[in-house]
């Protein structure tokens, strides 16, 4: 069981209150939206891709602090990253990025991983998304 202070570290609250890359791109090269039916969280990610590199990223959506802060940090992280590297971005890398030990919290980990799932749906295309366990 992780405590409140672990769950809502200042970094999470900061990104929740002031998300870095909220919005849409005009004519994005990749756009994907995913939902978490359990809690109604929704994340959309738009990407600009040039020469195999992600050159710009925006997210939109609504949801809990964990899902929205995760989206903010993830989109910040992937700008400048080669597409092939972003495709390999793992669950553990995301959890390290947001700094919350959610591995044993089956409910809230879905909130944190929703942006990563959205990113992968965008990059792989629907139907080729790895399961949560494989991410």
């Amino acid at each position: 069981m992780i405590g409140m202070d672990d769950l809502y570290r200042e970094l999470i609250l900061e990104h929740y209150r002031h998300p870095r890359r909220r919005g849409w791109l005009d004519h994005p090269d990749v756009s994907a939206e995913e939902h978490n039916p359990l809690c109604g969280d929704r994340v959309r990610i738009d990407l600009r891709i040039e020469n195999g590199i992600i050159t710009d990223a925006r997210f939109d959506g609504r949801g809990c602090a964990i899902s929205q802060a995760s989206a903010s940090m993830l989109t910040d992280e992937i700008v400048g990253m080669p597409v092939e590297q972003a495709k390999q971005f793992s669950k553990d890398q995301l959890l390290a990025l947001i700094g919350i030990p959610l591995n044993h919290n089956p409910v809230r980990i879905k909130c944190a991983l929703l942006p990563l799932k959205t990113l992968k749906v965008g990059l792989y295309g629907v139907g080729h998304v790895p399961d949560e366990d494989e991410m």
Binding site: M1, G3, M4, L7, Y8, L13, Y16, R17, P37, L38, C39, G40, D41, R42, R62, G63, C64, A65, I66, Q68, R108, C111
Partner: protein
Amino acid sequence: MTANVSMILSDIVALRREFPILNQSVNGNVLAFLDSAASSQKPRRVIDCLEDYYRRYNANVHRGIYRLSEEATFAFERARGKVARFINARSQREVVFVRNTTEAINLVARSWGDANLREGDRILLSIMEHHSNLVPWQMLAQRTGAKLEFLPIDGEGRLALDNLDAQLEGVRLVAITQQSNVLGTINPVAEIAQRAHAVGALVLVDGAQSVPHMPVDVQALDIDFLAFSGHKMCGPTGIGVLWGRRTILEQMPPFLGGGSMIKVVGLHESTYADIPARFEAGTPAIAEAIALGEAIDFLQEIGMDQIYAHERELLGYALERLTEVEGLRVYGPRTTDMRGGAVSFTLDGVHPHDVAAVLDGEGIAVRAGHHCAQPLHAYYDIPATTRASFYLYNIPEEIDRLVVALRKARTLFG
């Protein structure tokens, strides 16, 4: 501000002691369990009842000619009788044991629905239904070509019945919840049943949220089916009830095929047992049914009127105190009139999951999400709500703690 509510249940301290699970701390605070609408806690005697069956007389029912099996069969059927008396059924043959409310409704949809509905027939529901009283009818409509109609709600979250008679045209079945699991609204099912019967429609009532919390009398309501779950009324999981009007149940074909539900079995065809066995294929949840009977004894010794009054008092206190939290919006009726103790709300700027997590940090268990009522949340254009729900073991101090924790959530995320 501290609670100054006079408790209806005079010895609430002793009552709470009957529930072993309440005597624990969560994150350094005494557990405040405010999620009984999802599943209630169990008194010691229900837990003991389960153990007693497995330790002393575990055997299959309706089979063995030996003492253990006879004792198990007697206890199982006695539980059926307790259920029948609890809801004032005319006969215990009208009580079908199932797993839960969802299975009870699916049974009616599969058995009565497939046999009776044709293309163009209508089924009338409401937009406040739990998915368990929606999806089975969608599936039935897809199989038969029947159409679904929906009763709307008004600004207070009550059913709008102004156009009921017009909406009943061509309707063969009305399936409606007696108490919304999100809004707490208690629906006038007796009135709806009367008007539905006038056009020859049957009435199924989802009693998952009402049967545990108030007196429910199927004859007084004059309905045709009632579905409810044991685990929300101090009983175990895995046991629920479909009550049906005898003349209707007797005309219905079986739902699942197998043991127990037959009379004579040949290689190519079989004849089916009388009700209720016809609908109880396979070994039932014996221990759970017996323990549900024990839970009913427990509730009736306290009195369903008393339980309803206790929760109404808690509800009134909660509705009043929650207005003190800035940015909080309660969904559903604002008064305790025709309203049960499930209070769903949103808090400006804080997602319901975050609210629930902050409350959990204070040892307060609530539910966050769409509560299996997505269409209702879509109607309000909100992704989710946080819900606090009350039962006989809750106390005003828990509502005080809820209010303090909600203020803390506002501060944290504000």
